[in-house]
């Protein structure tokens, strides 16, 4: 038996197919992951993401510490509520995790990190915080529910406390608010609009059931993966890990290199830029029947070889898409070795789908 979120019973009641995910018993789907995927693109779906870890940082040097810890710069967050997406790096520039950082108030920040890496992240953050006036508190007393889709904000707001609804609906993208004990952020991992809502564990099951009662579709990890892949969003452990830098993972846009700020990994990244980054992460669309999957070999004629890092079937595009790490000189066509056959794939710049719309030429 793995760890269970506060929504475990609710999942089982809905006939979820439960699987082990990094030591957690999680729903992969409730009948059809393709139907759940479509529900998010067309209407609204709800995901239990309580296996992820909320980490609160408080103290006079909380900002100084995060400016050293993270590759993106939290000083960019000027107004309480604002959030950013960042990688957390080792000294050699390798990616330890990706996360979202929220600025709550002066000296107070909240991070949300991945489930599988949470323990290692906390150990690293703890060690690095020595010498800074900051406390680091993992919040296992909090649950997280993500509501995503064109109707998601409207439906989720209906389930919030009445006094919090209007302000929640006025939130801009990557902004958050705290009201009546619920932390509502306009963030997500699907390429659709929506909220991620953090609340005390005791409230989670009731909130989830209220959403389902007003027609929000329960969605599992299967749909979560096909949605994020269509949205061109990286998955830690697949598209990046400690063996690669953000530059080799399509995440240069998340690194704030400019200025005097020194952060862990900065020197290594600067050295890599000076030497030339040898690999890049690209989007692939497979031509023909088949499914791209992680670890398949990618052949780039005249240039060299790469590897698929994430792959699946895109329910919106009705063909297989993926992300792959290839030599920097790769052009717009490659071949992929799928179970011994070489299939052609086209290189595209993600995202494949955003806000329900196909973003690439089919």
């Amino acid at each position: 038996m793995g760890h269970r979120t506060p929504l475990y019973e609710a999942h089982v009641e809905r006939d979820a197919r439960m699987v082990d995910f990094g030591g957690w018993d999680m729903p992969v789907h409730y009948g059809s992951q393709i139907e759940e995927h479509h529900a998010v693109r067309r209407d609204a779906g709800v995901f239990d993401v309580s296996h992820m870890r909320v980490v609160d940082l408080e103290g006079a040097q909380a900002q100084d510490f995060l400016r050293r810890l993270l590759a993106n710069d939290v000083a960019r967050l000027k107004t309480p509520g604002k959030a950013l997406y960042s990688c957390m790096l080792r000294d050699d520039g390798g990616v330890i995790d990706d996360l979202i950082a929220y600025y709550r108030s002066a000296g107070s920040y909240r991070l949300v990190v991945n489930a599988v890496t949470a323990d290692d992240d906390l150990a690293w953050i703890g060690r690095q915080s020595a010498g800074f006036e900051v406390s680091v508190t993992p919040r296992r007393d909090l649950a997280i529910v993500a509501v995503q889709g064109p109707q998601a904000r409207r439906k989720a707001a209906a389930c919030l406390d009445a006094e919090c609804r209007e302000a929640a609906l006025e939130l801009g993208v990557f902004d958050s608010q705290e009201c009546a004990g619920q932390f509502v952020a306009r963030t997500g991992y699907t390429g659709e609009d929506g909220f991620e809502i953090i609340m005390p564990v005791a409230q989670a099951a009731g909130f989830w059931r209220a959403l389902v009662a007003i027609g929000v579709a329960p969605c599992g990890l299967g749909a979560r993966d096909t949605l994020r892949l269509e949205a061109g969003m990286n998955l830690y452990g697949h598209d990046m890990d400690t063996s690669v830098t953000p530059f080799e993972s399509g995440l240069a846009w998340t690194v704030a290199l400019e200025g005097e700020r020194d952060f862990i990994g900065k020197a290594a990244l600067q050295a890599q830029l000076a030497a030339g980054v040898g690999r890049k992460l690209v989007g692939l669309i497979l031509e023909g029947r088949g499914v791209l999957r992680a670890h398949q070999k990618v052949l780039v004629a005249g240039v060299g070889e790469g590897e698929v890092t994430s792959g699946s079937f895109s329910p919106t595009l009705e063909r297989s898409i993926g992300l792959a790490r290839v030599p920097a000189g790769a052009g717009d066509r490659v071949q992929v070795d799928i179970r011994g056959r070489l299939l052609n794939a086209r290189v595209v710049k993600p995202p494949f789908v955003r806000n329900g719309k196909v973003m690439i030429e089919l």
Binding site: R17, V28, H29, S32, Q33, I34, G222, T226, R289, G290, V291, R293, S312, F313, S320, R339
Partner: protein, 130 residues
């Protein structure tokens, strides 16, 4: 709980065999198998005329999760593959025992069918796996 109809025979690799009125049989995968695979996105059915031995890969089913071989439970000659599965692979999930059939075969010997598990045995086999 998965569905195990009484009118057919089963293999340990979760294929089913249904004898038809002429001497042929219909072959597919069980409800248990389609649930384990998840949503299917591609199915490669065999071509008519192909000869298969017991245990040969008769077809390939590819779900969002993984690709799996469907093994021939019998020796024989393929009479037809279910061409509908090209455009509608989800038929295997929705009707694994009906419209989601995978291939029709002329078996080399009808006697071999009797050596396969009946519904009760297959249901026991499933129970022993969990």
């Amino acid at each position: 709980m998965s569905n195990v109809p009484g009118d057919r025979r089963y293999t340990r690799s979760h294929e089913w065999v249904r004898p038809l009125d002429d001497d042929s049989v219909e072959i597919g995968i069980t409800d248990f198998a389609q649930k384990a695979l998840g949503d299917l996105v591609f199915v490669e059915v065999p071509e008519a005329g192909r000869s298969v031995a017991v245990g040969d890969a008769l077809a390939v089913v590819e779900s969002v999760k993984a690709a799996s071989d469907v093994y021939s439970p019998l020796e024989g000659e393929v009479l037809a593959g279910n061409e509908s599965l090209g455009a509608q692979p989800e038929l295997v999930n929705q009707e694994p025992y009906g419209e989601g059939w995978i291939a029709r075969l002329k078996p080399a010997s009808r006697k071999e069918i009797d050596s396969l598990m009946d519904a009760a045995r297959y249901a026991e086999f499933l129970a022993s796996q969990s």
